[in-house]
Structures are given as structure tokens and as C-alpha cells.
């Protein structure tokens, strides 16, 4: 409790430092960093309420662009307007960029060794495991009825026969626009009927990381 009271409010420097600290923890893709963000901004810094935080993440998750980058921008914007967004983006991107380019240079030095190839082979299978888990996590939110399950199956089929992924995404958007009206209406009513759930403005995007 004492810590919360003496910690400063959001400034350019403190927002930057928070994201600087979070950035190296974001292994395995954007969604993996959400719990760490929650610990930093709510438990430690006490900069926003959990429901406000969840609403920001839901927007970040359902927008184009990298999820972690989106989250940094929108949280930074909430904390410090334009300068907060800039601080968050810099803090999020700079350490990650430095680490990945260092690893690339290191990789060139150690790549000739056979043992390294075996280790990287193992890691790439591990990354496949992370990717599959990412799909699984998202499917629990996205595949909520027969239509969405069918859309996912058709989408995978189209991708496997070589249809361009961007085109498949557009088809999904069109299908959602034509088929989703009644569904989203029903979901909104449900969300309003549940008292402990805040009336999130985009219920579709959140809760990938549980």
C-alpha cells in the first residue's frame, strides 16, 4: 500500500520506463505480455482500474497491427495523451529491436556449429507449440457457434488450397457483416445482463490471455 502512494503519477519518463521493463518480457507474441502489463499498471503503479484496463486491451486486440504495439499505444494515450503514446511506443519497441538485431548478429557467428542447428531446430518446434496455443486461446473466444466454426474450417481450407490470406480475411469480414448482425445483438444483451462484467464496448476482443 505504501508503495502505491509514493509512486509518481504517469509522466513521460515513468511511462517509458514501465514499457521498457515490460518489453523484454514479451516472449511468444503480443498476447503473452498482457498479464505482465496488468501487474505493472494496476497492481504496482495503480494507474487505472481493472475494468478500464480490460477495455483498452479489448480495443488493442481487435485492431489491425501488432497486439503488443497497439496495447502500448492505447495505454500510453490513456495515461499521457500524445506524449504518453510516444513514450509507450519507444519503451515497447526499442529493447525488442535491440535484442532481435543482437541475436541476429550472434546467430551468424554461431550458426556453423551443428549443435546450434539442433538447438534452433528444437526452438522452432517450440515456437510452433506457442503458435498452436495462440490459435487455441483465440478459438475459445472466436468460435462461439456453428457459423464461426464453419467459417474457421472454410478459412483453413481456402488457405490450404493457396488463396491469399488477405483475401480470406476480407471474405471473413464480409461473412461476418452479413451473418453476424443478430448474433452480436444477442451478445450485447447478454453482456448488459451480467452485472459483474463491465459493459465493454468491444466484447469480442478481450480475454485471449487467460
Amino acid at each position: 500500500m505504501r508503495n502505491k502512494t509514493i509512486l509518481p503519477g504517469p509522466t513521460f519518463g515513468s511511462i517509458f520506463l514501465s514499457f521498457l521493463k515490460l518489453s523484454p518480457q514479451s516472449f511468444g507474441g503480443g498476447y503473452a505480455i498482457f498479464p505482465a502489463m496488468e501487474a505493472e499498471f494496476i497492481a504496482r503503479r495503480n494507474w487505472m482500474t481493472p475494468s478500464e484496463f480490460q477495455r483498452l486491451l479489448s480495443v488493442a486486440s481487435s485492431a489491425p497491427g501488432g497486439v503488443a504495439v497497439n496495447a502500448a499505444f492505447i495505454i500510453g494515450n490513456r495515461l499521457g495523451r500524445t506524449s504518453g503514446s510516444i513514450a509507450a511506443l519507444l519503451g515497447m519497441i526499442l529493447p525488442a529491436a535491440a535484442i532481435v538485431l543482437s541475436l541476429l548478429l550472434l546467430y551468424r557467428l554461431i550458426a556453423p556449429y551443428e549443435q546450434v542447428a539442433a538447438i534452433l531446430n528444437g526452438i522452432s518446434w517450440g515456437v510452433i507449440g506457442l503458435i498452436l496455443f495462440s490459435a487455441f486461446r483465440m478459438s475459445r473466444n472466436a468460435l462461439r457457434d456453428g457459423i464461426t466454426i464453419a467459417l474457421a474450417a472454410i478459412g483453413l481450407l481456402l488457405l490450404l488450397v493457396g488463396i491469399h490470406p488477405a483475401l480470406v480475411l476480407v471474405l471473413g469480414a464480409v461473412a461476418g457483416y452479413t451473418l453476424g448482425a443478430e448474433r452480436s445483438q444477442r451478445r450485447r444483451t447478454q453482456a448488459q445482463a451480467t452485472p459483474q462484467q463491465p459493459p465493454s464496448k468491444t466484447p469480442d476482443g478481450y480475454m485471449y490471455f487467460i
Binding site: S23, F27, G28, G29, G30, V59, A63, P64, G65, G66, V67, V69, F73, I74, N77, L89, I93, A96, A97, I99, V100, E114, Q115, A118, I119, N121, G122, I123, S124, W125, G126, V127, I128, G129, L130, I131, L132, F133, A135, F136, M138, A142, L143, A152, G155, L156, L159, L160, P165, V168, L169, G172, A173, G180, S184, R187, T202, P203, D204, G205
Partner: protein
């Protein structure tokens, strides 16, 4: 080099659901434009996956650096981040200021299942690429073991991804050398 910038700019705009869904798109374009070979791309995915940060941004940095040096890395980064900034600004205005979400909900109802398919497709493509002729059995047994172990450890015990990648590397050294 401008082509690289505009490709990643475009990629940023059409990407939904995080970087993994983008890997097939990046692979297609990188091979077609001659930015890197298939083998280089697989290495890039490994490095991008074992680095912190969004995997698409990491992959973009590597591809940019490999093809055009520091300037390429910087351009790929700006191209990938700019759409996030613009989309977030737009959404802040639309969702928080105007409160219009019905249309967005309808579209995401259809987009999200496709994103699941895209992510699964990225995993399938990576599996296919790792099955080299001659060592298929050994690759499959070792690989499927690692995939299953990682999945279970994430699902049941919520092991942080960094430890899982260390585990995968050690398993790889045991299985594949």
C-alpha cells in the same frame, strides 16, 4: 527498399490477431521479392520467436536488416508500427468518442474465426517446412514431442514462454544432433 517499406506498411494494416497470423504472408513476399531464401526465412522465424517483442515486428526487423542493412530494419519497423498508431487513433475516436460498435462487432464476428484459421495455417506451414526429406521420422517424433510438451505446459501450468523456448532448445539438442 521502398517496396519493403510499403509491404510492411500494408501488412500492418491487414494484420489481425497478432504476428503469427502474418508469417505466411511475410514468407510469400520475402521469397517472391528475393529478400531471403526459404532456409533464411526459417532461421528468421526461429530468431524472431526466441526474441521478446511482437513476432511480426521481429521478423520484419530481421528481413529488413538482412536485405538492406540498418535502413531496411528501420523502414520495416516504421512500416509495421505506423498502422498500429493510425488504427489506434481511429479506434479511440470511433469507439470511445462516438460509441459506434455494432458494425465493428459484426465484422469481427466473421474475422476472428478466420484469424484462428490463419494462425493454425501458419503452424501447419512451419511443420511442413521442417519435415526435410530423409529425416522425416526423427523430425516428426522429436518435433511432435516438443509441440505437445509446450502446449501442455502452457495450458496446465502456465509456464512462461521463455522457459518453454529454453526447454525446446535443450530438447532439440537431445533429439536432433
Amino acid at each position: 527498399m521502398l517496396h519493403l517499406f510499403f509491404f510492411f506498411l500494408k501488412l500492418g494494416f491487414i494484420s489481425f490477431g497478432g504476428g503469427y497470423a502474418l508469417l505466411p504472408l511475410i514468407e510469400d513476399e520475402a521469397l517472391r521479392s528475393g529478400w531471403m531464401t526459404q532456409a533464411q526465412f526459417l532461421d528468421a522465424v526461429s530468431i524472431a520467436g526466441m526474441s521478446p517483442g511482437p513476432i511480426a515486428v521481429n521478423a520484419g526487423l530481421i528481413i529488413g536488416y538482412e536485405s538492406f542493412g540498418w535502413q531496411g530494419a528501420a523502414l520495416a519497423l516504421i512500416g509495421l508500427v505506423l498502422p498500429s498508431v493510425l488504427a489506434m487513433l481511429l479506434l479511440i475516436v470511433v469507439l470511445f468518442k462516438l460509441g459506434q460498435t455494432k458494425l465493428v462487432n459484426r465484422i469481427f464476428y466473421g474475422v476472428q474465426p478466420v484469424v484462428v484459421a490463419l494462425i493454425a495455417f501458419a503452424a501447419i506451414r512451419l511443420v511442413m517446412a521442417r519435415l526435410e526429406p530423409g529425416a522425416i521420422t526423427q523430425q516428426l517424433i522429436g518435433g511432435l514431442f516438443i509441440v505437445a510438451a509446450v502446449f501442455v505446459m502452457l495450458l496446465r501450468y502456465r509456464v512462461p514462454p521463455i522457459y518453454l523456448l529454453v526447454f525446446s532448445g535443450i530438447s532439440g539438442a537431445a533429439f536432433f544432433s
